[in-house]
């Protein structure tokens, strides 16, 4: 009934597995192309422009990158010969460095907190696992902004912690170091992301074949050796996924630093937001964003390569 062109297309689709696969993927591919690839490409192009008042000078230039790495007046080769000089005009690079350090701290803390929770869920619970999983996600029923704001209430000058300490007579003056510093940002981000890490770790722990643990015990391993030699290596994929899931988004976070960071807790996300907004220098903002993304990609790549090598050696 259908016209010959359509019929042959139908036949082609039926014959080719690959084509069928792409057809299935096509809604997602189109979405990704429009919402991710195109904006990312636009960001790259923008980063080579310059801001002139309210307009863009569309001549392509490396000026924004030169500014980030303090290259102005020097060649790239000359700068690379003395890598420490890349940090001479420190604002962008060192705020980025500070953000990465804070994110790494958050990631380590999140894994340390989430792993025991996931372990408990996977190994200690016989019944009601679903209930526990739901309970763990309860904090996520409120928005991210509110969770960050809640920490402001908890850590605040006359907040929960300070009021309790004063009521207990442990201190007579509120502790001021709780809020408005990098520590407050780290605490807030850790709490905000813990539940994200529990789930992937739980899934990989849950998948571990219990007979392997029995075998390890039978062969004389104690509880600790068994954990180090069987459970931990086998749960590594989930743990790595959790680490990436936390590290990548927290580097660019700007909500938590804005609300609880005070004057010293600023992160690279705040700088980028200010460049696109107040400072009105979108091209420089784009360049800083791209340097941030590339740095995160590089770190993640190094991390994965390191983990890969470790696992190979273990095998």
């Amino acid at each position: 009934m259908s016209p010959p062109g359509l019929a042959s297309l139908q036949a082609l689709v039926q014959r080719s597995d690959a084509l069928r696969g792409y057809l299935l993927l096509s809604p997602m591919l189109v979405f990704m192309f429009v919402m991710v690839v195109v904006p990312a490409a636009a960001l790259v192009v923008l980063s080579f422009w310059t801001q002139k008042g309210f307009e863009f000078d569309m001549g392509l230039t490396l000026a924004n990158y030169a500014r980030i790495f303090a290259l102005s007046g020097r060649g790239i080769g000359e700068a690379l010969a003395d890598p420490s000089s890349l940090f001479a005009n420190p604002i962008y690079v060192s705020v980025l460095f500070r953000s990465v350090v804070m994110s790494l701290t958050v990631t380590v803390l999140v894994i340390l907190l989430a792993y025991p929770m996931a372990y408990f869920l996977a190994f200690r619970l016989r019944r009601g696992k679903l209930l526990w999983l739901i309970l763990i996600t309860v904090p996520f029923w409120t928005s991210y902004l509110l969770r960050v704001f809640a920490w402001k209430v908890i850590l605040g000058f006359n907040g929960v912690i300070n009021s309790s300490l004063i009521a207990l007579g442990l201190t007579d003056k509120p502790l001021e170091f709780l809020l408005y510093n990098p520590v407050a940002v780290t605490i807030t981000l850790t709490h905000a992301w813990v539940a994200f890490a529990v789930l992937p770790i739980y899934v990989s722990l849950e998948k571990i074949d219990r007979s392997l643990l029995d075998a390890a015990t039978d062969l004389g391993d104690g509880a600790f050796a068994r954990f180090m030699r069987v459970t931990l290596p086998l749960s590594l994929p989930g743990t790595i996924a959790a680490a990436l899931l936390v590290f990548i988004p927290t580097v660019g976070d700007y909500v938590a630093p804005t609300l609880v960071g005070g004057t010293s807790g600023i992160m690279i996300g705040n700088v980028i937001q200010s460049l696109f907004g107040k400072t009105n220098n979108a091209p420089l903002g784009a360049a800083v964003s791209i340097v941030t993304m590339l740095s995160v990609t590089l770190l993640v790549g190094l991390f994965l390569a390191g983990v890969g090598r470790l696992r190979k050696r273990a095998v």
């Binding site: 309210f54 420190p90 000058f157 006359n158 001021e176 004057t263 010293s264 696109f276 107040k278 400072t279």
Partner: protein, 369 residues
């Protein structure tokens, strides 16, 4: 054919195919057109893009009386950000920047000229405020003045004893960790400029050397600050709890804290108090001009002005407002009956020629450099 008929027809098996088709078609048409009609109704509400605190319907009672339903409200915390948002295509009909921004906004192409003939209260506004055109003197009008006031230091009288009347209090190491200053640069750059010793006449067109001086002052101040405030609520709460003892603030914060019974004072710094005038503009993208002008006219009416003075503690642009407010009420808020001399006596906010460089410098200082 009403619902009851249809049910009966179905029950009796009388609904033929053509009737059924007609029913489905009308239901379909209704479903499709409903969102369009609803969208149309929503579009009739103008959008008012303003600072937090100004969304109060008491500040445009005439409009509420006529339309029953208030305008759509969108808030900004910083005019630079508001401008970026408008330039990025955010569609607002009426926006609420301050006088020094108007030329910048006009050059950015986001404004429409104001037709003052459409504003019934326009002739009652103070002449000195009507003179702020947003263009060359005597040029076309781009701005309708609404509120005016000052900015100074609010401090706790019980925690700061007899301070010198000076902006230096925000640099006083004795109160390290218990001071705050605004994050928006319009005020903070003037304050830091005055403290750094930049001559008043250069404050809005600093030389590179003077910008470096200001940067130095801000760098010295940063470790002494508890935070840079971006919304006055955070700052007012911190003052009320004693977390901070002094902060830069507008007079509304002083009025609000005083009304809560917090022991605060509003300083008259010897270097000069800051003064400002804000008002509304019609954006170039405004689609809802009739409602927009009704909204503006309601804002400059004396009944709106009375609320402005009582609730927010700011002055109002309409001369007739001041016949409706008692002398004592004005004195409590530190407001004169006529803004002309008051605004000129302080460091009145004008367009800052070096704003972009100052913003860049300030963001670097905030980042710790």
């Amino acid at each position: 054919m009403n619902g009851h008929d249809v049910r009966k027809m179905i029950a009796e098996g009388r609904l033929n195919r053509r009737d059924f088709g007609r029913l489905l078609a009308s239901a379909g048409l209704a479903t499709v057109s409903l969102p369009i009609a609803a969208g149309h109704a929503a579009a009739a509400r103008p959008t008012y893009f303003t600072w937090a605190g100004y969304e109060d319907p008491d500040l445009f009672p005439g409009y509420m009386e006529k339309y029953k339903e208030g305008p759509e409200i969108s808030l900004f915390a910083d005019e630079q950000e508001a401008l970026s948002k408008l330039r990025a295509g955010f569609s607002a009909d009426v926006a609420h920047p301050c006088s020094e921004q108007i030329a910048r906004w006009r050059e950015a192409g986001v404004l429409k000229q104001i037709d003052t003939g459409r504003l019934s209260h326009w002739p009652d506004l103070f002449e000195s405020l009507r003179a702020i055109t947003g263009d060359a003197d005597g040029g076309p009008q781009w701005f309708v003045p609404i509120d005016w006031g000052s900015a100074s230091i609010v401090y706790r009288t019980d925690l700061v004893e007899n301070p010198e009347e000076s902006w230096q209090l925000l640099w006083d190491e004795r109160y390290s960790g218990r001071l705050a200053i605004g994050e928006q640069s319009t005020d903070t750059m003037r304050i830091a400029g005055l403290v750094a010793g930049v001559p008043k006449e250069n404050l809005f067109d600093m030389s590179d050397a003077e910008i470096a001086q200001v940067a130095e002052a801000l760098r010295k101040q940063r470790p002494l600050l508890r935070f840079y405030w971006s919304d006055n609520t955070t700052m007012e709460q911190a003052l009320a709890s004693g977390e901070i003892v002094a902060s830069s603030a507008w007079n509304s914060s002083y009025v609000a804290l005083k009304q809560q019974g917090v022991p605060v004072a509003y300083m008259q710094p010897k270097e000069g108090i800051l003064t400002w005038c804000c008002g509304v503009v019609v954006t170039a993208a405004a689609t809802n001009l009739d409602a927009a002008y009704d909204l503006i006219d309601a804002m400059i009416a004396p009944d709106a002005g009375q609320q402005m003075i009582t609730k927010l503690g700011y002055g109002h642009s309409n001369r007739k407002t001041f016949d409706m407010v008692g002398e004592q009420e004005l004195a409590d808020r530190g407001l004169p009956k006529d803004p002309t001399d008051f605004l000129a006596a302080g460091v009145f906010s004008r367009e800052n020629k070096r704003l972009a460089d100052l913003e860049q410098m300030f963001s670097e200082v905030k980042g710790g450099f």
